[in-house]
């Protein structure tokens, strides 16, 4: 994502003055990070959906009730029913596991391969660094969506394959961030000191470089997580996502859009869920970025 280079040091060092003031109840109430709490709440709820969907809904997400199709939201069906009479709320709840595992897998691919490349390039420097970073440029120069679609056609359709396709496009961002972090940390005085006191490269890497570059990578991962959900849903929209009747969120939005004229909630509801989750992931990422700013 494009925020890669910008967000990690967002808002750094701007709230140091608050320390030490006496905390009245009012100031606690005022300063309580409601947004952040809400973000965690959203993520927690969605995680619960993936673990125990049965707690939230009694309807079957795959088996519809013929004759009960395209019902408007009501007490019985909180978000109405789709064209085959399936309860939309149930599909969203049960879909969480597909959408989230897809996003996690995608970010995992980008994280492992990308940081691996970046770490290596930043550590060894020189010609190898040049070659790796030019390769990353090549990855960046191929339009992400085109790359994803090609990979899906190559691997075949399915939630995991879509995740890999999205993950592949995230590699470049992770590699660039990791390399710049490694280079930054490497040039720091304490690392040079560690080298000076006879530390081997591997030890320095493990003890100093890695831990010090980790925070921003973690924050970036959170952003990427939200971004991956969006990308997977875009693939679903273009017809390259999970195969139906999987209640994956992107697919729900994509299928629901055909009914906009008659049942707008079919696409609006899953759309808002995606917005809420991605927004929460970004908010949490920002808070990680802030702690990073304070500690560094």
């Amino acid at each position: 994502m494009t925020t890669a280079d910008t967000f990690s040091d967002l808002d750094t060092g701007k709230r140091s003055k608050r320390a030490g003031t006496s905390r009245s109840l009012a100031s606690i109430l005022l300063n309580f990070p409601y947004g952040l709490a809400l973000a965690w709440l959203v993520i927690a709820t969605v995680l619960l959906w993936t673990l125990v969907p049965g707690l939230f809904t009694a309807y079957d997400p795959l088996q519809g009730v013929p004759g009960g199709q395209l019902k408007a939201p009501s007490a019985a069906h909180l978000l109405g029913t789709d064209s085959l009479g399936r309860d939309l709320f149930s599909r969203i709840v049960h879909g969480a596991v597909h959408s989230l595992s897809g996003a996690i897998a995608a970010v995992g691919v980008g994280l492992v391969v990308g940081t691996g490349l970046g770490l290596f390039a930043g550590s060894v420097r020189g010609r190898v660094d040049e070659i790796i970073m030019r390769f990353v440029d090549v990855l960046l120069s191929i339009p992400t969506l085109l790359l994803s679609l090609s990979i899906i056609i190559l691997l075949g359709f399915g939630t995991i394959n879509a995740a890999i396709a999205v993950g592949a496009t995230a590699i470049a961002g992770f590699a660039r961030l990791m390399r710049s972090e490694v280079v930054r940390v490497r040039n720091a005085e304490f690392v040079e000191a560690a080298f000076g006191s006879g530390g081997t490269f591997g030890k320095v890497l493990w003890r100093h470089i890695l831990p010090n570059s980790l925070t921003s990578v973690v924050a970036y991962t959170a952003v990427q997580f939200g971004w991956a959900i969006l990308q997977i849903s875009t693939l679903g929209f273009l017809g390259y996502g999970a195969p139906p009747p999987t209640p994956e969120w992107g697919l729900l939005i994509a299928e629901g859009r055909n009914y906009l004229a008659t049942a707008w909630w079919l696409t609006a509801a899953p759309g808002l869920v995606v917005v809420a989750v991605v927004l929460s992931a970004n908010r949490i990422s920002q808070s990680i970025g802030k702690t990073n700013g304070r500690s560094a």
């Binding site: 967000f7 992400t144 970004n282």
Partner: protein, 314 residues
Amino acid sequence: MSRYVVGRIGQALLVLWAAFTLSFILLQAMPGDAVLIKFLNPEFGLSADQIREIRAAYAIDSGLLVQYANTFANFLQGDFGYSMQAGVPVSAQLATNLPPTLKLAGLGFLAATILAVFIAFLSTMAPFAWLKNLIQSLPSLFISVPVFWLAIMLIQIFSFRLKLVSVINPGPWESVVLPVATLAVPIAAPLAQILIRNIDEIRTRPFVPVARAKGASEIGILWRHVARNAILPVLTIAGVLFGELLAGAVVTETVFGLNGIGGLTEKAVSNQDLSVLQAVVVISAAAFVTINLAVDLAYPLLDPRLRTRNGATA
């Protein structure tokens, strides 16, 4: 300096060639091929022998290396081949589809910049902390909305419900308003975040109170300094955002039914129209490489600190 320039250009060409090769390998590995997809369409009712003959006529089964060499040589001469699905030369398709996308992307980027500046300044002028927080979280909201969903919603609301703009047979302005808005929203987000950070930073600098004491308005001070400081990050992001713009174009063009490179790409992928895809990759890679090259070369000119550093190393 000139050695640095030549080196960067060389690197750029290398990246371009690598992108060509990588995409060639990727595309050739796809199952099925455009000839099969087109002619196996049962509407034609072709026999196995007839399809074999057609494949031979298109020389689709010649060796990979031969095909690679041919394609590469043709590309060097500016010949992008024939689109199997549309039945027209790829260059003709590009000629009709590239200008609308460039227009869309250019206007989208412009709108995004304006929107970002607007948000950044609004947030500094907000009288209450909660309002400031709210405005500052707008960029996060912007990148959280699926682009295709936004596009569909905008059409429903502004075109079909409020009947403000026509999406079918639109006038020259009508045709760009909604697509540009759709495209601008996700791109404005990172720009706005940079600007907000810049403004916060500048406000803490010592010269601000001095200038204010001299009677300058705060907005005026911010405007002068932010504008100068924001050019570099905006340029950097412009390079990275190009791919994003194209991805956005695929979606917006699909939803709004515009002709352009995005829509062309989407169709070519589904029909595995390799010559079209190859051309799209090379063109967008060329654009990416050129923009980044330009940004890299422009950096030292815009930022004196970098000039000395680069001058020293290159």
